[in-house]
């Protein structure tokens, strides 16, 4: 007899009574819940993009969905993926673990993928044609002054809300600063054209060579129900020093450089200023064969230009002379002598957070160059392009100002934005759309409440998705911090970087400097995102629940008969998409 032939009994205690008999829910004094929160990046994004969700979708290779998520908040993904100064990355929680997620490069990747594949613009009401028809029945027409990023965004969002928009542009082509102020090596023309053509395809009429005059506005009153003023900086601020007439206008120079036949430049050049225009002028000069030097009256850390751009400029061999304030320009030896007052640091300005400079005694020097460019900032082409200052009937918002005066008017773009950037211009166009939509549907009194309701994380950026009652409105305004991320679920991973044109190739022409991320690198990069505060359906909550109290019924549900409030689901949520709250007794 062997043991196989006659198995002996094995006694263990076992029960077939279901543990469902034990209603462990009665033990609970705290209750878990799915409670999505706000990612710091999305609050920092002037355009209010739902970045945590965009990266979640991109990480799964769902590029059309990722692109649509951008397009709900920003009509220019491929443009912003190139020119945005990406404040999102500055607040990325991932920086505390290794380096921020390359949100900027990912936006470009998604934007370019859409250009290549021809993704259709997502329906504003998720396919609900009746809703669009109902809204269009309001039959309001909006005149938009300026086809820059602010005006075009206003046209995009207003059209999606059912308004009929016409854009009036003084220049020969639409795009504003994107077309005339940003050189080709940062934003190739075809990218700009395709993203603008999408807006035209939506039925927006753009009238070029049509400057906005007082007469035009008078006429507009007959045809239009409201105006958006997005005129931008029409001219450069003058130097106000003796010999200023010798300095060429930096903005104008960039404008001509983006013509089909760019100007020639050679010899040495001084570029006066510290903003993005000064950098763009200098980098353009290098490409045209000149040797530029930037003269700036403060220090490098005080320069309003985006840091990344300054770095690129220095890499390209552009000299930067800090603490140098030009006081006089004279013609000399076929070129110009610039007399420069040396400055010194004298503490911080409390208002701007920049350094305050004072003349360093009588130290001066004379710099001889072949050309001089002025790029110290722009100002409106006409004073009345900005909102009336004195009037208390003007409603000032973060990115625009509204007045009902004769014709309801929203002032936006660079002339009202505290930060002059493409993303802020988009924010302005979006805010204008929210303001006008609310004004026509509910009256002026409702504007502030509506705008406040669609702020992201109580910040200055607005979400159109929230305004239209999308899922995103359910998120708590609480900003997820690094300490709320369960870092056990994340591992250090190298940030993906796009290819950069070698220096020799860069300075010999206007080819785009940065390349796209390769698809594999983009997916891997998107997967680095913590997806702060949003559920990516990792299912940890359900898998870890010791009472099997979480179940799927379309979405994840908690069976409160058995949830004992242990909080394991909340603890194991890698991204703080759940919270515990005390039971109300």
């Amino acid at each position: 007899m062997t043991t196989e032939e006659k198995p002996f009994p094995v006694h263990i205690s076992r029960s077939n009574i279901s543990t469902e008999k034990n209603r462990t829910g009665t033990w609970r004094f705290v209750r878990p819940g799915y409670h999505e929160k706000t990612a710091p990046c999305s609050r920092a994004c002037p355009a209010g993009e739902d970045i945590a969700r965009i990266e979640m979708l991109a990480g799964r290779g769902m590029y059309p969905a990722a692109w649509e998520t951008i397009m709900r908040e920003n009509p220019f993904p491929a443009i912003c993926g190139r020119v945005c100064f990406h404040p999102c990355e500055g607040v990325c929680n991932r920086a505390e673990m290794d380096t921020p997620v390359a949100i900027h490069h990912l936006e470009r990747f998604i934007g370019d993928t859409a250009l290549r594949e021809g993704y259709p613009v997502p329906h504003p009401f998720y396919g609900d044609e009746a809703e669009l028809a109902r809204r269009s029945a309001i039959n309001k027409r909006i005149a938009i002054a300026g086809a820059g990023p602010a005006g075009l965004s206003a046209a995009y969002f207003l059209t999606r809300l059912g308004f009929a928009c016409e854009v009036f542009e003084a220049d020969t082509e639409p795009g504003g600063v994107l077309r005339w102020g940003i050189p080709w090596y940062r934003l190739p023309e075809d990218v700009l054209k395709i993203e603008i053509s999408r807006i035209i395809d939506m039925g927006v009429r753009i009238h070029c060579k049509q400057p906005v005059t007082r007469e035009f506005l008078k006429e507009a009153r007959k045809e239009f129900d409201a105006v958006f003023m997005g005129c931008g900086h029409g001219r450069s601020v003058s130097l106000r020093i003796p010999g200023e007439e010798y300095a060429a206008d930096g903005l104008l120079f960039l404008h001509t450089a983006r013509d089909s036949r760019p100007p020639r430049a050679q010899g040495t050049a001084a570029v006066i200023g510290g903003g993005n225009t000064a950098i763009d002028v200098s980098r353009t000069l290098v490409r045209l064969g000149a040797e530029p030097m930037i003269l700036y009256r403060r220090r490098r850390e005080d320069m309003p230009a985006f840091d990344h751009e300054i770095e690129m400029a220095l890499e390209e061999g552009i000299a930067l002379k800090e603490l140098a304030a030009p006081v006089r320009i004279e013609a000399a030896d076929g070129g110009y002598d610039i007399t420069v007052q040396r400055m010194k640091f004298a503490g911080m300005e409390t208002e701007t957070g920049r350094g305050r400079m004072v003349p360093d005694g009588d130290r001066t020097e004379v710099i001889h160059v072949d050309q001089v460019f002025s790029a110290i900032g722009g100002e409106p082409g006409e004073n009345w392009y900005t909102p009336p200052q004195e009037s208390d009937r003007v409603l000032h918002l973060n990115h625009c100002a509204f007045t009902e005066a004769d014709l309801p008017t929203v002032y936006g773009g660079d002339l009202t934005n505290p930060v002059k950037s493409a993303a802020d211009a988009i924010a302005s166009g979006k805010e204008a759309a929210v303001v006008l939509d609310t004004f026509f549907r509910e009256g002026r009194g409702a504007i502030l409440e509506r705008v406040n309701a669609c702020r992201i994380g109580s910040g200055p950026s607005l979400s159109m998705e929230i305004y239209l009652g999308g899922e995103r409105r359910k998120r708590d305004v609480h900003i997820v911090g690094y300490d709320e991320i369960n870092t056990d679920y994340f591992f250090p991973a190298e940030r993906s970087a796009p290819s950069v044109l070698p220096m020799t190739k860069r300075v010999e022409g206007f080819s785009e400097v940065e390349g796209d991320l390769p698809p594999d690198a983009a997916t891997a990069e998107a997967q680095r995102c913590f997806n702060c505060g949003i559920c990516n359906e990792c299912d940890n909550c359900r898998l870890y629940c010791p009472e099997v109290a979480i179940y799927m019924d379309g979405t994840r549900c908690i069976n409160l008969d058995y949830c004992k409030g242990c909080g394991i689901c909340v603890e194991e949520c890698p991204r703080s998409a759940m919270s515990l709250e005390e039971e109300k007794i």
Binding site: T3, V10, H11, I12, S13, R14, S15, N16
Partner: protein, 384 residues
């Protein structure tokens, strides 16, 4: 195919060829090499198994208990303090009747901190319901690990394969490694007697009130009582496939011996040489290598030691306030035998100290000269 490998890796190789499905372990010297190799097998895809990383030995055993309850073949390994930390779950796994196999590398417990050879860690777990098998060399480690699965699955009790720290775990020796097909002939696919089944849901290891608890404990002992026969049977089949067998204990030249030395682990190898040398010098000495400690092979011990004039037990362990643990067990096995030999207990080689041929020879001579044991244990601090 013969390969020169570490004792630790003899375990790892056997576990791989046993087609273990779930492993969990926490590293501790001198066990770590075993699970390091296994985790590499898994990551390299050489083993179709899950390796669950945990934060303690307590969790490691808990994880394999969970996996074994699901009806898969499981493995863990530990040593010394790690094994001590598992203690609660050693009771649990045995009483839950789960055929878990563990490699236990004998190592001293601190303080003073000591990572070397000492048997007290495994012997302190003798009442947990685990079968314990002690090994002498790398080949025996490999073979015993395969046998352990067969045995555990026959009687539904967990098995501890015990090997000496460093003397065995870290020593490279030639080991005959069979191919997978040969191992499969000896060790069939695991068919669990106990496993969770979603189609027939149940709760296991429930409350067992006084009315049933005692029967359950008795059933564990009945399982233990099955072991000698089950072991003999699996060794028959092992011998058919591999042409080797070990027995629960191995007597060497005991037939006419006046003094029989009882040894375990790698000390048995040294002792084989000492017995041969002494026999050559005309001494009537024999030895018993004890392989199985739980269940204690009572009858086999009585049969082989009952007729000797004197028995000398070498303990590389100690039960404070009593004596060497193997000596205790052998005294207990013999005490009801009329005319049984006196049992001399010796303590040597604690905390990694060498047991040399001179140590064993000294023990033999002390036993031969003594009339009757004067104390339960004599501590042999050096071989002079």
């Amino acid at each position: 195919m013969k390969a020169v490998i570490e004792g630790s890796h003899a375990v790892s190789e056997a576990v791989r060829m046993a087609r273990v499905q779930v492993m969990s372990a926490y590293p501790i010297t001198p066990q770590t090499h075993i699970v390091e190799a296994l985790s590499e097998y898994v990551s390299e895809g050489r083993m179709d198994a899950k390796f669950i990383c945990v934060e303690s030995e307590h969790s490691a055993m808990a994880a394999v208990i969970g996996a074994a309850s699901g009806g898969v073949r499981t493995f863990t390994a530990s040593s010394s303090h790690g094994l001590a930390l598992m203690h609660e779950l050693l009771h649990w796994s045995a009483a839950a009747r789960l055929p878990i196999v563990m490699a236990e590398v004998n190592r001293a417990l601190g303080p003073g901190w000591n990572i070397w050879m000492d048997q007290t860690d495994s012997l302190a777990q003798r009442d947990t319901g685990w079968i314990q098998l002690y090994c002498e060399d790398g080949q025996e480690v490999f073979d015993t690990t395969l046998q352990a699965y067969r045995l555990a699955e026959m009687v539904n009790l967990p098995v501890m394969v015990v090997l000496d720290a460093f003397f065995l775990s870290h020593t490279y020796e030639p080991v005959d490694l069979p191919d997978q097909e040969t191992v499969d002939r000896f060790l069939p696919e695991f068919v669990p007697k106990i496993h969770l089944d979603a189609a027939d849901p149940c709760a296991m290891s429930q409350m067992a009130p006084p009315g049933v608890y005692m029967e359950m404990r008795h059933n564990i002992q009945q399982g233990m009582e099955q072991v000698p026969r089950a072991f003999a049977e699996l060794e028959d089949s092992f011998e058919t496939v591999f042409n080797r067998r070990y027995g629960m204990l191995e007597p060497v030249r005991c037939e006419d011996a006046d003094v029989i030395l009882v040894v375990t682990g790698t000390a048995a190898s040294t002792c084989r040489q000492v017995v041969a040398d002494l026999r050559a010098a005309g001494e009537k000495v024999g030895m018993v290598k004890l392989k199985m400690f739980r269940p204690f092979p009572l009858q086999a011990v009585r049969d082989v030691l009952g007729g000797a004039r004197k028995v000398a037990v070498l303990d590389r362990n100690f039960s404070f306030g009593a004596s060497g643990i193997f000596a205790q067990e052998i005294r207990a096995a013999l005490c009801n035998q009329p005319g049984h030999p006196p049992v001399f207990g010796y303590i040597a080689g604690l905390g990694g100290r060498d047991i040399t041929p001179a140590t064993l020879e000294k023990i033999y001579r002390m036993t031969r000269e003594a009339g009757a044991p004067e104390q339960e244990s004599v501590w042999i601090f050096n071989d002079q």
